[in-house]
C-alpha cells in the first residue's frame, strides 16, 4: 500500500511540475503575479510529493518489504540498517528518485528565498527547473519504476552489492547528486536570462552562491568516490581516468570555470554571454555524466548492468536540454551586448586565462572519454583510451594554470602591474627553486617530474600566502593590527585562499602518488617477512571470521618500521552469504608520510597466500587537499549566506565598501 502511495505521489509530482512550468512561463510573459504565485506553490507541492515518494521507498527498504522488486534486488533482511537506507540510492531506480528529490529541493529553495529577484526572472527560473523535473519524472515513471511489485513475494532479498556496503559509498552518491543537480540552478538562471535578454551583476550575485554550493558538493563527492575506490576496491590507486570518473570530472572542470567567470560578471559586468554559455555547458555535462553512467554504453570499471531503453530515453532528454539550451543561446546571446573592457594583464585577464585552460582541459577529457564511442559508431573498431592519453594532455594544460594561479589573485582589476605582482613573489620563487633543487637531488627515480610537480605546489602555496600577507599588510603594520585584519577579512577571501591552498596540498599528494608508489607482488607463507616503503611486513597466517552478512578469511600481518612499535594489520577476503560475491578488504596503515597497504589475494596449492604490498607516498594529502578545497567553498558560501536570501537588499556600493574596508 505504501509503495503504491509512493508511485502515486510521483505521478502527482509530475502533474505539479507541468503546472509549475506552464504557470511559470505564462505568468512571466503576461506579467500575471497570481500565475507566478501558482507556479511557486506548485514547486513546493512537487517537493512534498517527491519527498513522500522517497519516504515510501525508504520505508520499503527499512521494513524489508520484499514484495517490492527494487528491495528484493538490492536489500536483505540481514543487512545493517545504515546500508538498508543507503540501499535506497545504491541502485538505478532509487538513485533517480534521489536525483529528482534534490532537484525539487533546490527548486523550492529558489521559490522560497527568491523574493527579491525580479518576479518574471524567478518565475522563468522555476519554469525551467520544472521542465528538467518533468524530463526526469517521466524517465522514472516510464522506464525505471522503483515501486514495481513482485508476486509472490520472496522470503528474502538478494542483498546490495557488497562493494556498495560501505560508509563512504553511503554518502558519495547524494553528494555527487547535489553537485550535479546544483548546476541545474545555474542552467535555469542562464536560460531565464536568455529569455529575458538581460544579464547583470544582480544575476551573477544569484548564480554565484548556487554554483559555489554545487561546486563544493561535487568536489566533495568526487573526492569521496576516489577515496572509496582507494580503500575498498583494493587496486591500489586513487584515480583511473575511468569514463565514469571522467563523467563527474568534466562538469567539475567547467563548473570551476563558471565559478570564476561569474566573479567577473558580478564585479566587472564583463564576460557575460561567455558565463551564460558556461552555465549551459556545465549542466549539460552533468546530464552527459548521468547518461554515461546510467546507459551502459561504456566499458568501465564502474559499469553496472543496464537496460538499453533507458539509455535511449536519457539520450533523448540530453538532446532536448543541450540542443534547446544551445539553440536558445545562439539565437539570443548576440543581443545581450558586451560589458566592461579590460587589459590582458589584469584580474579579469587572469580569470579569462583560467577559463580558457579549464574549458580546454575539459574538452580534451571529453574527447578522450567519448572518442571510443564515436569511433565504434563510425567504423566498428573497438578501442579504449586510458591514463597515458589523459596524462599526456591534461597535465600540460594544468601546469600553466597552476603556475598562473599563484599570480592571478595578486593582479588588480582592469589594469594590473605584472612586474609588481611578480616582485611580491620573490620569496616564493626562492622557496620554489630551493625545493626544486632538493627534490631533484634527493629523489631517485622520476626526479625531474617530481621536482616540477612539488615545485609548482610550493609556488602555488607561496602565492596564496603572499596574497594573504598583502591583504592584511604583514610587514607594514604591527602584528596586533595584522591579527585584527586577519580576523576581519571577508569570508570569501578566506574561501579563495583555502581553495587554492587545498589545490597545492592536493598536487603534492598526487605528484608523489603518481611517481613514487612502491608495489610488490609475492607469495607469502606464514612467518615470512618482506620489505616495502621502509616497513618490514611479516605474514602471520590466516584465521576465519563471521560478519553479520558475510564470512571472511583474515590475513594477519605485523609491520615494523625501524625501532617503532610494531603494527598489527588485518587484510580480509570476504564472501557475502546471500549473493555469494567476494570482496577484498585491504589492510591499510595511514600516516602523513604515506600508507602501508596490504591486499591478500587467495590461497595457493602450497599453502602460501598471494599478497600485494604497497607503499602509497603522501596519499592522504590528496584527500586533505580536496577537503581544504571543499572547506574553502563552504567558508566562502557562509559569507554569502545573507546574499543567498537577499541578493538585492545590499546595494552594490555597500558591497564594495564592505570588501574594500579590511584591505585599506
Amino acid at each position: 500500500m505504501i509503495a503504491e502511495l509512493g508511485h502515486f505521489a510521483l505521478t502527482l509530482a509530475l502533474a505539479f511540475a507541468l503546472a509549475q512550468a506552464a504557470f511559470g512561463f505564462a505568468g512571466a510573459s503576461k506579467g500575471r503575479l497570481d500565475w507566478m504565485g501558482a507556479s511557486r506553490s506548485a514547486a513546493f507541492m512537487q517537493l512534498i510529493l517527491i519527498a513522500v515518494a522517497f519516504g515510501a521507498l525508504t520505508h520499503a527498504y527499512v521494513t524489508s518489504d520484499f514484495s517490492v522488486k527494487n528491495v528484493v534486488e538490492n536489500s536483505n533482511s540481514l543487512k545493517p540498517l545504515i546500508y538498508k537506507i543507503s540501499g535506497v540510492w545504491g541502485n538505478h531506480e532509487g538513485s533517480m528518485v534521489l536525483w529528482v528529490l534534490v532537484l525539487a529541493l533546490l527548486g523550492s529553495a529558489v521559490a522560497l528565498f527568491g523574493s527579491n529577484l525580479p518576479p518574471s526572472l524567478r518565475s522563468r527560473v522555476l519554469a525551467v527547473q520544472a521542465l528538467i523535473g518533468i524530463g526526469f519524472l517521466l524517465f522514472i515513471l516510464l522506464t525505471s519504476n522503483p515501486f514495481e511489485r513482485v508476486f509472490p513475494a520472496p522470503a528474502d532479498g538478494r542483498d546490495l552489492n557488497p562493494l556498495l556496503q560501505d560508509p563512504g559509498l553511503a554518502i558519495h552518491p547524494p553528494m555527487l547528486y547535489v553537485g550535479y543537480v546544483g548546476f541545474s540552478i545555474a542552467f535555469s538562471f542562464a536560460i531565464a536570462a536568455l529569455i529575458e535578454g538581460k544579464v547583470d551583476a544582480a544575476w551573477a550575485r544569484w548564480v554565484r552562491p548556487w554554483t559555489l554550493l554545487a561546486w563544493s558538493f561535487l568536489t566533495g563527492g568526487i573526492a569521496l568516490g576516489s577515496w572509496w575506490a582507494y580503500y575498498e576496491l583494493g587496486w591500489g590507486g586513487w584515480w583511473y581516468w575511468d569514463p565514469v570518473e571522467n563523467a563527474s570530472f568534466m562538469p567539475w572542470l567547467v563548473g570551476t570555470a563558471l565559478l570564476h567567470s561569474s566573479i567577473v560578471v558580478e564585479k566587472r559586468d564583463s564576460l557575460k554571454s561567455w558565463t551564460v554559455l558556461l552555465a549551459i555547458l556545465t549542466f549539460s555535462l552533468s546530464l552527459i555524466g548521468t547518461f554515461l553512467v546510467r546507459s551502459g554504453v561504456l566499458t568501465s570499471v564502474h559499469a553496472f548492468a543496464t537496460d538499453p531503453d533507458r539509455g535511449v530515453f536519457i539520450l533523448g532528454l540530453l538532446c532536448i536540454a543541450i540542443g534547446g539550451g544551445l539553440a536558445l543561446y545562439a539565437w539570443r546571446a548576440p543581443k545581450m551586448g558586451g560589458g566592461g573592457m579590460f587589459q590582458p594583464i589584469s584580474r579579469e585577464g587572469a580569470l579569462l586565462l583560467n577559463n580558457l585552460l579549464l574549458t580546454t582541459a575539459a574538452a580534451t577529457v571529453f574527447l578522450g572519454t567519448l572518442y571510443p564511442l564515436v569511433l565504434e559508431a563510425i567504423n566498428g573498431s573497438k578501442i579504449s583510451v586510458g591514463p597515458p592519453y589523459f596524462n599526456a594532455t591534461f597535465v600540460p594544460l594544468m601546469a600553466p594554470l597552476v603556475a598562473a594561479l599563484a599570480v592571478g589573485p595578486l593582479l588588480g582589476w582592469k589594469r594590473a602591474d605584472l612586474a609588481g605582482a611578480l616582485g611580491r613573489l620573490k620569496a616564493t620563487a626562492g622557496a620554489t627553486i630551493a625545493i626544486f633543487v632538493i627534490v631533484l637531488w634527493a629523489a631517485g627515480e622520476n626526479a625531474v617530474w617530481g621536482a616540477l610537480g612539488i615545485g609548482i605546489a610550493v609556488w602555488l602555496a607561496g602565492g596564496v600566502l603572499t596574497e594573504l600577507a598583502g591583504r592584511v599588510g604583514l610587514g607594514k603594520h604591527p602584528l596586533g593590527e595584522v591579527g585584527r585584519r586577519l580576523i576581519g577579512l571577508p569570508r570569501s577571501a578566506w574561501g579563495m585562499s583555502f581553495a587554492h591552498f587545498g589545490l597545492a596540498i592536493f598536487i603534492l599528494g598526487a605528484t608523489a602518488m603518481s611517481l613514487w608508489q612502491e608495489e610488490k607482488i609475492l607469495v607469502m607463507k606464514s612467518g615470512q617477512t618482506a620489505e616495502v616503503g621502509g616497513y618490514d611486513v611479516t605474514f602471520n597466517g590466516v584465521q576465519d571470521k563471521r560478519g553479520p552478512n558475510y564470512v571472511a578469511l583474515r590475513g594477519l600481518f605485523l609491520a615494523k618500521r625501524g625501532d617503532s612499535t610494531p603494527l598489527n594489520l588485518i587484510a580480509e577476503k570476504r564472501r557475502y552469504v546471500v549473493g555469494g560475491q567476494e570482496t577484498t578488504e585491504a589492510a591499510i596503515h595511514n600516516s602523513w608520510r604515506g600508507d602501508l597497504y596490504i591486499v591478500m589475494g587467495g590461497a595457493n596449492e602450497d599453502a602460501g597466500q598471494t599478497v600485494r604490498l604497497y607503499f602509497m607516498p603522501l596519499v592522504n594529502w590528496i584527500w586533505l587537499g580536496t577537503l581544504v578545497m571543499v572547506l574553502g567553498g563552504f567558508i566562502s558560501l557562509s559569507d554569502r549566506r545573507l546574499r543567498v536570501g537577499a541578493p538585492a537588499r545590499k546595494s552594490t556600493s555597500d558591497q564594495r565598501g564592505a570588501e574594500a574596508a579590511p584591505a585599506e
Binding site: K69, E73, N161, L163, L164, L233, G234, W235, D269, G296, T299, V301, A303, F304, A305, D307, G340, M341, F342, P344, L352, L353, L356, L357, T360, A361, A363, T364, L367, G368, S381, K382, I383, S384, V385, P387, P388, Y389, F390, A392, T393, P396, L397, K414, R415, I521, L522, V523, Q581, E582, T583, T584, V599, G601, N604, E605, D606, G608, T610, R612
Partner: protein, 165 residues
C-alpha cells in the same frame, strides 16, 4: 560604474572592444591548437584496440603492442604458476581460444565461465600477458565487447546477456 579606460569616444571604444575580443579569441585559438596537438600526439601513442581471440588468430598482431582482449574464461582453465603469483587462464569466444597470464591478484568478480576483459600485450610465444584485468561492480554484467565477440562467433546465448532490471 565608471567608464573603463575613460579616454576616447564611443567609436574608439567599439574598436577597442573589438580588438580586445580579437585578442581573447586568438588566445583561445592558440590554446585549442596546442590542445589539439597534445591530443593527437597522445591518441597516437595511447589508444588501445580490442580484439577477440578469433581476431588474434586471423590477423597478425605484433607482439608487444598494447591491446585489449576479451571473452569467456574457460571452465577448468585457471592455473597458478610461479608458486601462485602468476595466474594463467584461457579466454574463449567460442570459435578460438587464447592463453592469458596475469601477474598479481585478480579482481573479486573474476570467475570461470564469466566474461572478462584484459589489457596487455601478446608475447612472442603467442600467449597474452595481461597487465590489467578489468573488474566489474556487478556479477551479471557482460562487457559489451565480449557480448559482441560472442555474437560474431555465433556463441551468444541470450541467457548470458540477460541483464538485471
Amino acid at each position: 560604474m565608471s567608464e573603463p579606460l575613460n579616454e576616447g569616444s564611443g567609436v574608439s571604444r567599439t574598436r577597442r572592444r573589438k580588438r580586445q575580443r580579437l585578442y581573447a579569441v586568438l588566445a583561445g585559438l592558440i590554446l585549442l591548437g596546442t590542445a589539439a596537438a597534445l591530443v593527437l600526439n597522445a591518441l597516437e601513442d595511447s589508444v588501445v584496440f580490442f580484439h577477440s581471440p578469433s581476431d588474434i588468430k586471423e590477423k597478425s598482431i605484433a607482439a608487444g603492442q598494447r591491446i585489449r582482449i576479451g571473452g569467456l574464461v574457460e571452465k577448468g582453465s585457471i592455473k597458478k604458476e610461479e608458486g601462485g603469483v602468476v595466474t594463467a587462464f584461457t579466454v574463449s569466444d567460442g570459435a578460438a581460444t587464447l592463453k592469458v597470464t596475469y601477474r598479481g591478484i585478480l579482481p573479486d568478480l573474476f570467475r570461470e565461465g564469466q566474461g572478462v576483459v584484459a589489457q596487455g600485450a601478446l608475447q612472442p610465444n603467442g600467449t597474452f600477458s595481461a597487465s590489467e584485468v578489468l573488474a566489474k561492480h556487478d556479477e551479471n554484467y557482460m562487457p559489451p565487447e565480449v557480448a559482441d565477440a560472442l555474437k560474431r562467433s555465433g556463441h551468444w546465448k541470450e541467457k548470458q546477456g540477460k541483464m538485471k532490471q
